[in-house]
């Protein structure tokens, strides 16, 4: 039953009153909570008070912390209903306009995103009467923050305004493309592509292409590199016959730019460029460009290009693909295998295996295999790891056995690397390798490594090794676990080092589910119970934790008859932590 509002006051208003007051609490977190519930406040105030009181107040709150402003900018994007529907949506423009001028990029971007969102809720008349003037104000603002925000709004209002307004918008965009501050030119360059999409093709050619060319030869390389992205969108819009004349000169210039950052951008966007310009230009122009990028004097550029090798080759036209790869790309790839920079080599190693599916079995064995083997012997562990992590591609084409001769020493070396992060990385690939190499090979060569990691002196490795065992059991099954893993794990329960004894407990917790009820109850449980008398408290409370974990796997009779007495005893342990975890386990297992 809800209480009637009246002279006694309305207690349903109380929570709202708190929210409103907390909009300016000194604690940022409380302000943030309030802002996130702005819709609740607006709902309680009703549409009219929201428009006349709440929004004016919010318009002036731009002094606040970034995270509060960010939340506000986001909320306002879905506020249309709360101000009275599309008819009144323009009321949201003033607060968003002030948010679009703050110095924090994330806040500005969010304000622009919300403005774009609510622009669709404006009727064509309102768009012309309210939204478009806002865009103009921002575009001619004194500070560059407002001008950068304007760049993101042209494309949403352009398609829906009158012809004369359209021409004004184009003029504004032109002005911003040659703004004094590089920030604004960068914003314009990054929005060039999306603006081109909404522009009539004739204006793309007459207006945007010259702007694009100008930005692409800007004095600041931070602007030029953004023109590369615009290159992709513009090339997608233009008919094939115009590309050569309107886009290619700029792209060629970018590929040979004096600044490595621009060339890096070309390399980074190469797949997109390739798709946008089509097969013919790819063959004539992009292949030589790609070769140059792979041989670039700057390692960053070579690494970015090396990352694209597989994708570029995949997207080559089918009829000439093999010839191009064999004659043009592979020679460059061969050189990269012995590059002086390890980032280049490791970028290549992360994609090179993918070439085998494209080139097929014979080419892979003849041309690629020597490269794989060379990379497996590379001095940099990251290169070797990247090869190993992508073994599945090769397995499909030639079978992993071709590699196993070289693979094994590489794995063993990584497994014993002095850097624990390298050891950690190779452990993560073990389940994958186990799947590819098969149980027999694994037992023979790799099983001992997996067990050795359990006694590594770094905890993170022991933890990963435990998790690895679980995944192996999931792959090879419970009977394999029983014969190869469980005895060794249980053997460690009497190790003099308590850390190793704890590893046994961690393994049991991890393996119990995969091993099933029988192994857990018959073989693991007795060991765990025996360890409850360990001298070290850390071991004892881990016994409690393990029992909690394996409890659900056990037979109920074992739970009652064997686990309960042990936990009861641990619950009276002199150590505080042991008591705590024993009680917790009893609660969870409903033994309390």
């Amino acid at each position: 039953m809800s209480k009637m509002a009246g002279a006694d006051g309305d207690d349903s208003l109380y929570p709202i009153a708190v929210l409103i007051d907390e909009l300016r609490n000194e604690d940022v977190q409380l302000r943030l909570n309030s802002i996130k519930k702005l819709s609740t406040i607006a709902l309680a105030l009703g549409v009219e008070r929201t428009r006349t009181e709440l929004l004016p107040f919010l318009t002036d709150t731009i002094y606040d912390e970034d995270e509060v402003l960010l939340a506000l900018a986001e909320q306002l994007g879905s506020f249309t209903v709360l101000v009275g529907g599309p008819e009144y949506v323009h009321c949201l423009l003033p607060p968003l306009e002030s948010l679009a001028t703050v110095e924090e990029t994330v806040v500005r971007d969010k304000a622009v995103e919300s403005l774009r969102k609510i622009s669709h809720e404006h009727s064509p008349e309102d768009l012309e009467a309210h939204f478009e003037p806002l865009v103009k104000r921002l575009a001619s603002g004194d500070w560059f923050t407002s001008r950068t925000s304007a760049c993101g709004l042209f494309s949403v209002c352009y398609p829906r305004v009158s012809k004369s307004t359209k021409s004004e918008i184009r003029q504004h965009f032109r002005t911003l493309c040659s703004d004094d501050t590089p920030m604004v030119r960068r914003a314009a360059a990054s929005k060039l592509g999306e603006f081109a999409k909404v522009l009539e093709l004739e204006y793309v050619k007459s207006d945007l292409i010259p702007l694009f060319a100008a930005l692409a030869s800007d004095e600041q390389d931070s602007v030029r590199l953004l023109a590369v992205e615009a290159c992709v969108s513009i090339a997608q819009l233009l008919p094939q016959e115009d590309l050569e004349k309107l886009v290619m000169p700029t792209l060629r210039q970018a590929t040979e730019d004096k600044s490595w950052r621009v060339r890096y951008m070309v390399a980074d966007k190469f797949s997109e460029l390739q798709k946008a310009v089509g097969p013919e230009i790819t063959e004539n122009d992009l292949v030589p460009s790609f070769q140059n990028l792979l041989k670039d004097c700057e390692a960053e550029v070579r690494a970015a290009a090396a990352n694209k090798v597989k994708e570029f080759c995949e997207n080559l036209p089918a009829d000439s693909r093999e010839t191009i790869i064999m004659n043009s790309i592979l020679p460059c790839v061969k050189e990269l295998v012995s590059d002086t920079n390890q980032h280049v080599k490791s970028a290549l190693a992360s994609v090179i295996m993918g070439l085998s599916t494209i080139l097929g079995k014979d080419n892979t064995i003849e041309h690629l295999l020597p490269l794989f083997l060379a990379q497996l012997k590379d001095e940099c562990p990251e290169v070797r790891l990247n090869i190993i992590s992508n073994l599945d591609c090769v397995n499909e084409v030639i079978g992993i056995r071709q590699l196993s001769q070289s693979l094994l020493p590489a794995i063993v070396e990584l497994a014993e690397d002095a850097k624990w992060r390298v050891r950690l990385a190779i452990i993560e690939y073990m389940p994958l390798l186990a799947g590819q190499l098969g149980m027999e090979f694994f037992d023979e060569k790799l099983n001992s490594l997996c067990m050795a990691w359990l006694v590594d002196h770094v905890y993170a490795i022991r933890e990963a090794a435990t998790c690895n065992l679980m995944k192996l059991v999931e792959r090879f099954g419970a009977s394999w676990a029983q014969s190869t893993i469980v005895p060794k794990v249980l053997g460690m329960a009497s190790d003099p080092n308590y850390l190793h004894r704890m590893t046994t407990l961690f393994c049991i917790s991890a393996l119990s589910e995969a091993c099933g009820q029988e192994i857990t109850t018959k073989q693991m449980l007795p060991i765990v119970l025996k360890m409850s008398e360990d001298q070290v408290a850390n071991v004892r409370f881990n016994v409690a934790k393990s029992l909690q974990k394996i409890g659900p796997v056990l037979e109920n009779s074992a739970l009652q008859a064997e686990v309960r007495p042990v936990l009861e005893k641990l619950a009276t342990d002199q150590d505080m932590d042991v008591k705590y975890f024993a009680q917790e386990a009893m609660t969870v297992l409903s033994l309390a």
Binding site: A5, A7, D8, G9, D10, D11, L13, Y14, I16, A17, V18, I20, D21, L23, R24, A44, L45, R49, E53, L54, P56, F57, D60, Y63, T101, V102, E103, T105, W143, F144, T145, S146, T181, P182, M183, R186, E219, Q220, D221, S222, D257, K258, S259, W260, R261, C297, E298, A299, E300
Partner: protein
């Protein structure tokens, strides 16, 4: 803070009438002085980690005599003393450098750095305050929560102007050695920071990573022969920066060429005159400051005894050399003994690049007119700035008989040094830091 209101007329160069605008006595030794891009704000940093910002009074103020004066606008603690537990090292709070960012909205932003950590500060104004609570009445008494009959939305009311300084970003953990320079790039999104052996490039919005662009640390520290002493970005080419070394050389690097700028594209060095070679040659040739001219065509370097202007297109020798205090050449031995020889004097250009200024000892500072090659020595001290007195050019007696008004080299006070000076970017207003005192002088408007 004691603010002295000394206003004097004095003349120093025939074409200038300079008046002292203000002198401020600060709580601690000033360690850096910097005008913002418009010149309306002046920031100082001090040894105690404080930043004090002065704002120029707006024209049209009814107190006509205060027009053009600078008053304290905001004071805040930028850095606190810290302790590096891993290295057992104290990290001083002293502000080594301040650099303003180009203005992007109504607020102002600056970077300040001590030896290790760079901070981005926002200085903003607030003139409105929200009023009206639901759960409290006008006097701050709590209302009965069960007697709320209507909701109140706070209303913004005007209030006295409040200036707030808030830390926006902290760029830490990137420098093993002491940061000597920071410089904002003309792309408005990156800046560089230099320590003794490395230069890092940061994005102004990203604090968790920076790119190392220069690393001169030798594999074996015993082979170390030179350190980086200063670095600066070119004023309009966003890919160019220079750094100077303790060997008196300057390297210009092009970031377009490669990601790591270990190979310079230009190397500026003046061949040493073998006749003046001495034990101190290397120490006094160490460059303490490097500054590009506003046009970007020239750069100026300060070494212990001179200021040199280099044309970026000529690497073999400077185009101009100005002696700052040549009379000290005979005193190098005692300056070495009292460590003064390691003082790092800074230098600055005027707004139109035709005059330069740098500091000296005894609270003297020097100005050089590049067109007429005239130079002048002035003194920034309260004793000599008596009201209505003419601040005369000072002269140091360099041998022979001491004339009236001349000061003998032996009576110079080496504890009173002017290391930091700044020149308004558009007008003839200069700021000179003399230990705890900041002096602002202005070309008198007739």
């Amino acid at each position: 803070m004691l603010i002295l209101n000394i206003k004097l007329f004095c003349s120093y160069m025939p074409q200038f009438n300079i008046w002292i605008l203000f002198s401020f006595h600060l709580a601690d030794i000033i360690s850096t002085v910097e005008f913002n891009y418009s010149g309306d704000l002046l920031a100082t940093g001090d040894k105690g980690g404080r930043v004090v910002i002065f704002q120029r009074e707006q024209e049209g103020n009814n107190r006509s005599h205060s027009r053009g004066e600078y008053n304290v606008y905001s004071t805040f603690q930028s850095h606190e003393p810290e302790f590096d537990y891993l290295k057992s090292l104290e990290i001083e709070e002293k502000i080594n450098k301040i650099r303003w960012l180009p203005q992007q909205n109504a607020a102002h932003f600056l970077l300040s750095t001590n030896d290790k950590t760079i901070k981005l500060w926002k200085i903003s104004e607030r003139d409105k305050r929200a009023e009206g609570y639901n759960l409290k009445d006008e006097n701050g008494r709590l209302r009965d929560p069960f007697r709320i009959t209507s909701l109140r939305v706070p209303v913004l009311k005007p209030m006295d102007l409040m200036v707030e300084a808030s830390p926006r970003r902290i760029f830490a953990n990137a420098h093993t050695y002491h940061i000597n320079s920071i410089s904002v790039n003309s792309d408005h999104e990156t800046y560089l920071s230099a320590d003794d052996l490395r230069i890092n490039l940061w994005h102004l919005e990203i604090t968790d990573r920076s790119f190392n662009i220069v690393d001169i640390k030798p594999a074996n520290m015993e082979e170390l022969t030179e350190v980086i002493t200063a670095a600066e970005c070119h004023p309009n080419q966003c890919n160019v920066f220079v750094y100077s070394s303790s060997k008196g050389t300057i390297r210009l690097c092009d970031m377009r060429a490669s990601a790591l700028c270990d190979r310079h594209s230009k190397f500026f060095e003046e061949p040493e005159d073998p006749s003046s070679r001495s034990f101190f040659s290397e120490i006094i040739s160490s460059i303490s400051d490097v500054k590009f001219s506003h046009s970007g065509r020239y750069m100026m370097t300060r070494d212990y005894l001179s200021v040199k202007v280099w044309d970026l297109n000529m690497e073999s020798r400077p185009v101009e050399t100005y002696q700052v205090h040549e009379y000290l050449r005979s005193k190098l031995c005692s300056l070495y003994e009292n460590d003064c020889i390691f003082d790092k004097f800074e230098c600055c250009w005027n707004g139109s690049d035709n005059a330069i200024m740098t500091g000296s000892y005894n609270n003297f500072f020097r100005m050089f007119d590049r067109n007429t090659r005239r130079d002048i020595t002035l003194e920034a001290s309260r004793e000599s700035s008596k009201p209505r007195a003419i601040l005369k050019p000072r002269k140091v007696c360099t041998g022979g008989k001491r004339k009236k008004d001349e000061i003998s080299v032996d009576s110079l006070d080496f504890n009173k040094k002017i290391l930091h000076t700044a020149w308004h970017p558009k007008e003839n207003i200069i700021a000179v830091a003399a230990t705890n005192n900041l002096y602002i002088f202005q070309d008198k408007i007739n």
